[in-house]
Every structure is written in structure tokens, then in C-alpha cells.
């Protein structure tokens, strides 16, 4: 009886429960939330992240190549849709952080330059998790990974701002800890023509080193400490999604094993960076920042 209820639920929500992702993975959580607004007339193109395991469980048409082809296959699908005269299908091009920051960075930039009509999503778990936790361009400063065992020395690439500079119609940052906000941003993206980019931080208990039960809590801390600020840039105008006071970054850093190596100086450095970013963003709230 309960099983039937759930089977019906999986059909209606267009995602099957029980993916092969790790317990507490933010990947299936992201798709669960996204599919609440995407609707049946959706084609998803994408591959790459650990969260790819979740893509096997969505119940809308989906195809993938490898993570070196992010946005490319979607570009082709887009052209096929135009050739067939279809303008009623939402095309999602999905990528993890490894693809977005590194191997497919140029591809995403080019698709943005062509203003391809798609929603490009980055599902960011901040390292190459699928292959066993190696650093990516989106791994934060100081984080442990197997290729940065003493902590990453370089900074996290700011892809949302880089893509905003391409003058695309819509850029947003989001978090699975704030699902209503994410859904609102997806719906907004669906209503706009052209290349839209939504960058969503998702938790990885395995790679970030914490108890899976705290997956949403830790992700929420990332937003509440302003390590992962949430905003939208629509036609070049910045709108902050949250303007709350910032909790100290130590709350976020101490909650994860991957930051265990950080010393006081490094934590202060991170706090200063986050503070500076926060004041800059708040001072630009409501202004046109891309010209």
C-alpha cells in the first residue's frame, strides 16, 4: 500500500527515489526540486558530476555525452528543435563543477556567446567527486582533496560573474538548502529567451567530510555565512536574494572535515574575503553592474 503510494509519487514528480548517489548527496535533491517546476516538456542534456547518478533517475528525456562536451550536445539539440519548429520545450544543459570550471569552461563560454536558448546549470559540489575527490577550479581555497591534501592554494573561480560579463540575459546563484528560492529562479529562467545560467551549491558529505544527516544544515550554513552568496543578475542588474547578517565563517568551516587543515591566519583570510565580497555585493544591490 505504501509502496504504491510512493511509486505513484515517483511517476508524478518525474524522479525515481533511491539513486545510486551517496546518502545525503545534494544531486538527487537538486533534481527533485528542479523537476517540481520544469514540467514534462523538458529535455535534459548533461553528464559529469557525481550527481550524474541522479540523472539516471529522472523521468524526462535525457541524453549525455561526456563532461568535456557540456553545452555542446545541448547546442545540437537546440538546433534540432529549431529545425523541427519546436519552441515549447525547456532545454536544460547540466554540468558539475569540474566540467563548468575546467574541461568545458570554453564550451559554456561559447554557448553563452552564441546566446543559445537553454538553461545552463552548474551543480557544484566543489571537486571532481565522481572520480574520488580531486580538485577542480571550483574547489574553494583551503579545501582538502586528494590532489590538494594540504589544502587548495588557489581561489575558487567566479563563474557566475564571468558568464554575466558575457551579457547573457540571466545569471543566478542558488542553494538546495533554499528550495523555494531555487524554484523561483528556475521558473524565471524558463520564462526568458536566450542563455541562462544557474549556479547551485550542493553538499557532498563524502568529499566535504561530514555526517550525511547534516547535508542540508551545512549547505544552509554556506549561504548564511555568505561563503555562497545568493543573487540574480538580470539584464545586467544585480539583485541580492538574501541580505541577512552573516554568521562567522568558522561555523561553516568547522562543520566540515575538508577544512580541518586551516590555521587561524587562513580562516581570517577567508573571513576577510567573504566580508569584502558581501559589502561589495550589498553596495551594488539594485544597480546595473554589466554594461
Amino acid at each position: 500500500m505504501i509502496n504504491e503510494t510512493f511509486d505513484k509519487h515517483y511517476e508524478e514528480s518525474r524522479i525515481q527515489g533511491g539513486s545510486t548517489c551517496c546518502p545525503g548527496c545534494g544531486g538527487p535533491l537538486f533534481w527533485k526540486i528542479a523537476l517540481q517546476v520544469l514540467g514534462p516538456k523538458t529535455i535534459v542534456y548533461g553528464d559529469g558530476p557525481c550527481a550524474m547518478c541522479a540523472l539516471r533517475y529522472i523521468k524526462v528525456p535525457h541524453m549525455a555525452i561526456h563532461f568535456s562536451f557540456i553545452a555542446d550536445g545541448a547546442t545540437g539539440i537546440n538546433a534540432a528543435l529549431r529545425a523541427k519548429g519546436r519552441n515549447d520545450v525547456t532545454l536544460i544543459s547540466s554540468a558539475g563543477d569540474g566540467a563548468s570550471a575546467d574541461i568545458s569552461f570554453g564550451k559554456i563560454s561559447a554557448a553563452a556567446e552564441r546566446n543559445e536558448n537553454m538553461i545552463q546549470i552548474c551543480i557544484d559540489n566543489e571537486a571532481y567527486m565522481n572520480t574520488g575527490i580531486q580538485k577542480s577550479g571550483l574547489t574553494p581555497y583551503g579545501a582538502w582533496t586528494t590532489t590538494t591534501p594540504t589544502g587548495k592554494e588557489s581561489n575558487k573561480k567566479d563563474i557566475p560573474m564571468i558568464l554575466a560579463a558575457h551579457k547573457i540575459p540571466y545569471v543566478a546563484t542558488a542553494s538546495v538548502a533554499y528550495p523555494q528560492d531555487l524554484k523561483r529562479k528556475l521558473e524565471k529562467a524558463m520564462s526568458i529567451e536566450g542563455f541562462k545560467y544557474i549556479h547551485t551549491i550542493i553538499p557532498c558529505p563524502t568529499g566535504w567530510r561530514f555526517d550525511p544527516a547534516k547535508a542540508v544544515e551545512v549547505t544552509r550554513l554556506g549561504v548564511d555565512t555568505w561563503v555562497s552568496p545568493m543573487y540574480e543578475i538580470e539584464e545586467g542588474v544585480l539583485t541580492m536574494s538574501r541580505k541577512a547578517e552573516a554568521k562567522p565563517v568558522t561555523e561553516y568551516l568547522k562543520a566540515q572535515g575538508r577544512f580541518r587543515n586551516l590555521d587561524e591566519e587562513q580562516i581570517k583570510f577567508i573571513q576577510d574575503e567573504v566580508d569584502a565580497k558581501r559589502s561589495e555585493l550589498l553596495s551594488l544591490d539594485g544597480k546595473k553592474i554589466i554594461h
Binding site: G18, P179, A213
Partner: protein, 49 residues
């Protein structure tokens, strides 16, 4: 909250405000228990009850 945040969609809040679980697919991650504002869920290791 549990239904909202369960990564696997294996927790549902029924119309009668009961919480039901799909034990076929639940992975025991514990997010639901952690997020519940009224501590209504407890995680029990499989085989110990």
C-alpha cells in the same frame, strides 16, 4: 521539512499529517531527522530493532 529535504524523495507527509517512508529506497542518510523541527524522526540502525 522532511519531505522537502529528503534527497531521495523517500519521505512523504500524508494528508493525515503522518510521515511515511519508502524503506525500499531510503538510504538512512538522516537528513530528515536532522531537519525535523519537532524531532519527530529518529534514525535506528537496521537490524537493531
Amino acid at each position: 521539512m522532511c519531505q522537502l529535504y529528503c534527497p531521495e524523495s523517500t519521505v512523504l507527509l500524508t494528508e493525515e499529517k503522518k510521515v511515511i517512508f519508502d524503506y525500499r529506497y531510503c538510504k538512512g542518510c538522516g537528513v530528515c531527522a536532522n531537519e525535523c523541527p519537532v524531532n519527530a524522526i529518529s534514525m535506528v540502525k537496521e537490524g537493531t530493532q
